[in-house]
Subunit: 404 residues, 2 copies
C-alpha cells in the first residue's frame, strides 16, 4: 500500500465530483469560492456512514439517517456557509430538496443521495441559491479537489488523500478521501464532514462495521475545541470499479482494505487537527500502558483537549505538570507514581519523579510543526493516539468574530 | 441575613490571619507581593473540607486528606507561586513541614493545621523560603484581606465576602470567606482554593455534609477552562465565638446557616468566574426544565465550558446556535423541539423554532459585564446555574507565557 501523490476523493475509479459557488458567503475569504459540491459514483455501490451523536442535529443528519441503512447510496451533495441547523425537524424539507436536486442532476433516485451542510448555525438555508446553482455543477474524474474546497469553512486548505493497494505489482484497489474542519471539532462516535471512496467491491454490512472501526481510531480521536458539531458525518462509498471479488469481513483482502482505510483516515484526521482554527502546531498525544484501549483513548483525548496543555504548546512551554494534571482528571485509572511523560521524545517525568532536562532545548524542539506528547501509565496494554492543536489568539479572533 | 460591606474571611469573631512575601515570584505583578498566608481560629473549632478528585494531586492534598476527618482543624497555611505538584508522594515532607511551621507559629499541634499550595506545577517547592518567612507573619483580626491577596496567582483581585445572620435585630453569627482562581478552574466534586469561616458553633458531621452541599451548588458550578486543578481545596472552620447552641442538622438554625454559607459561596463562585483568566464577561448559564437536578447541572456546566459559546460571548455575538449545539452534546436528555434559549432576557429560540430578534439590540445588551444565558428544556423540574467567563485572547497570552 502506498500513498498516491496528490491523491483525492475521486482518485479511485468510477467516482466523479464537482463544485460551484452558490453564493453562501457574503464576505470573507470564501466569498466567490466554491461552496456547493457533489460527489458521485458512476456505478452502483455499497455505502456506509456514521453520524453525530449530538442530540441537536442539523437537518441533513435526519435525512441521511433514513437513507444510510439501505447501503446503496451513490453520492452526496454538500454546501458550506450554512449548517441548516439546529432547528429540530425544521429545515428537513430544504435538505430533502437539496438531495433531490443533486440526484436529478446526477441521474439517480433521490433516495440514493446523501446531503450535508456545514457552516454557521441558526440561519435558515437559502434553498433558492442551491436550486440556482446545482445545474451548473460539472461532474468529472478531476473534480475531487474542487469538491474538497467547496466543503471548507474556516479551514485554511483542503484535506485530501488517497492510497493504492497493490499485490505483486498489480493494482487491487484504491481508497481516497477528503474532509473539512476546523472548529466545533470533538467528534463523538462520529466525525466531522468526511467522505471516503474505494473502487473495491465491499459487502455493505462489512463496510458499515469497517467505517465505524476506522472512525473510532481516527476521526473520533481528533479534538480542536471540545465542541461536537450537529453536522458530524462520515460517508463511505465502495463501488467495485477496480474489479475483483466482493470483499467480505472474513476474506484475506479485508486486512488490506482496513489498512488502506485506516491510512487515508489517519492522514485526514491529522490534517484536521493540524488545520484547527488558529492552530500553529499539530499535537499528537500518544498514550501507552493504559488499563484498556478505551481508557487509553479517553486519556489521549482529554490531554489533547486541555486548554492549558494547548496554550502551553502555543507558547512552546515544556509544562509537563499541566499534561499530568490533565491526565489526572480524565476519569481513567492512573497512578502518578508509575506514570511517565515525554515531550518531543525528551523524558520530563518518570515513575512519579521529575527528570532533569534542558529547558531551552525542549523549548526549541517544541517549535516544530508537530509536537509529540508521550504518556506511559505502566498499567496495561491500552494504547491510543489523539490529535489536537494548540490554542492561539487566532482561535479566539476567528470565533469571536465568526458571524460579523 | 445580609452582606457585610467589605466583609472577609476574618470578619467572623475569633479568626485571625496574616501574610508576608516569601519571594515565591521572581517577576511579574506578584513579585514583592504577599504570597504566603495563615488563617487561624483563636478557639477550638469544627472543621470540614472537600478536596480535588483529580488523581494527580498536589502534595498538600495528601496531608489535608489525613487531617480533615478529625474535624478539629484550627487553621491553614497557604502559599501561591508554586503548587508543590504533581509529584505523587514527593513533596509531602515539604507540605508537612510547612504545616508544622505554621502550627508552631500559631501555637497549636501540627495536626490541627491544613496546608495548601497553588501556582506553577512541576517545580519543587522552595521550602527554605517558607522556613524564613513564616515567623514574620502577624496574625490579626484585620488580616483577612492580606490572606486573600496572598493566595492569588493570575487573579487580578482578591475574592472575599461575609454575611451577618440576625434574628429580631440580634446578631446570631457571621459567615465569611475568600477564594482564589483563576485558571485551571473546572472543579470536580471539590473546588479551587477557598476558605470559609463561621463564628457559629456547628456539629462537625453536619458541617462536613453542609460543606459538600454548598460546594456542589456553588464552587463546583464554576468553570473557566475545563481543567481541574490538582490542588482544589475548600476548607471550612466554625468556631462558635458568636455564642449560641451548637447547630445540628435538625435544628431550625441549620437553615439560616445553610443560607449564609450558600450566599457567601455563591458570591465567591461568581467572582471566581468573573475573574477567570483573561475574562471580560461573567457568564451565568441558567438551566430550567431539565429532567433532574443532576442533568440541569451537567447541562449548565457544559454550555458554560463550551469554547464556542465563550468566544461568541467575547465577541458579543448572539449565536444561540452554538448554545443549543453545546447543550446537545452534554449527555443529558434534551428535545430540540421543546427547548428554548434566551440571551440577556431576549428569547432567540423557542420550542424548536427561531424567534425573530433585533441582532443589534442583543449584541448591545451582551456588552454588559454579566451575560445571562437561559435554557429551558421543558422536560422536568431540574434547575441549576453554572458560572463561567468568556474566552479572550488574553487567556491565551496568560497561559502561553505563564512560566516565561
Amino acid at each position: 500500500m502506498e500513498f498516491i501523490p496528490y491523491g483525492h476523493v475521486t482518485t479511485p475509479e468510477g467516482f466523479v465530483a464537482g463544485a460551484v459557488c452558490a453564493g453562501m458567503y457574503a464576505s470573507g475569504p470564501k466569498a466567490g469560492q466554491p461552496d456547493l459540491g457533489i460527489l458521485f459514483s458512476q456505478r452502483e455501490c455499497a455505502s456506509a456512514g456514521v453520524l453525530t451523536t449530538n442530540l441537536v442535529r442539523s437537518a441533513p443528519v435526519y435525512v441521511n439517517e433514513k437513507r444510510l441503512p439501505a447501503g446503496n447510496l451513490r453520492g452526496a451533495v454538500t454546501n458550506s456557509g450554512n449548517a441548516n441547523a439546529p432547528f429540530g425537524n425544521a429545515g428537513i424539507a430544504e435538505a430533502e430538496e437539496m438531495a433531490a436536486l443533486a440526484a436529478r442532476h446526477a441521474g439517480v433516485p433521490p433516495e440514493q443521495f446523501a446531503v450535508c451542510s456545514t457552516g454557521v448555525t441558526g440561519v435558515v438555508l437559502p434553498i433558492d441559491k442551491v436550486r440556482a446553482a446545482i445545474p451548473g455543477i460539472t461532474l468529472s474524474r478531476e473534480g475531487g479537489p474542487d469538491f474538497a474546497r467547496a466543503i471548507m469553512t474556516t479551514d485554511t486548505r483542503p484535506k485530501q488523500a488517497a492510497v493504492a493497494v497493490t499485490e505483486g505489482g498489480r493494482l487491487l484497489f484504491r481508497v481516497g478521501g477528503c474532509c473539512k474542519g476546523s472548529g466545533m471539532i470533538h467528534p463523538n462516535m462520529a466525525t466531522m464532514l468526511a467522505y471516503m471512496t474505494a473502487d473495491a467491491a465491499v459487502e455493505p454490512g462489512y463496510l458499515q462495521r469497517l467505517t465505524k472501526k476506522v472512525a473510532d481510531a481516527t476521526f473520533n480521536m481528533v479534538t480542536v475545541d471540545g465542541d461536537t458539531s450537529c453536522s458530524d458525518t462520515l460517508l463511505v462509498f465502495a463501488n467495485g470499479a477496480a474489479g475483483g471479488e466482493t470483499i467480505r469481513e472474513v476474506d484475506p483482502a479485508a486486512s488490506l482494505l482496513e489498512e488502506a482505510f485506516m491510512a487515508v483516515a489517519t492522514r485526514l484526521a491529522r490534517e484536521l487537527a493540524r488545520d484547527g482554527e488558529g492552530a500553529r502546531h499539530l499535537i499528537a498525544v500518544n498514550v501507552s500502558g493504559a488499563a484498556t484501549l478505551g481508557e487509553a483513548r479517553q486519556l489521549a483525548r482529554t490531554v489533547a483537549l486541555s486548554s492549558l496543555v494547548k496554550t502551553a504548546v502555543a507558547g512552546n512551554d515544556p509544562n509537563w505538570g499541566r499534561i499530568l494534571v490533565a491526565a489526572g482528571r480524565a476519569g481513567v485509572r492512573l497512578d502518578p507514581a508509575k506514570a511517565s511523560v515525554s515531550l518531543q521524545g525528551v523524558p520530563l517525568f518518570r515513575n512519579g519523579g521529575v527528570v532533569p532536562f534542558d529547558e531551552d532545548d525542549v523549548h526549541g524542539r517544541m517549535k516544530a510543526d508537530e509536537v509529540a506528547i508521550d504518556i506511559d501509565l505502566a498499567l496495561g496494554d491500552g494504547r491510543a493516539t489523539a490529535w489536537g492543536c494548540d490554542l492561539t489568539t487566532d482561535y479566539v479572533h476567528i470565533n469571536a468574530d465568526y458571524r460579523t
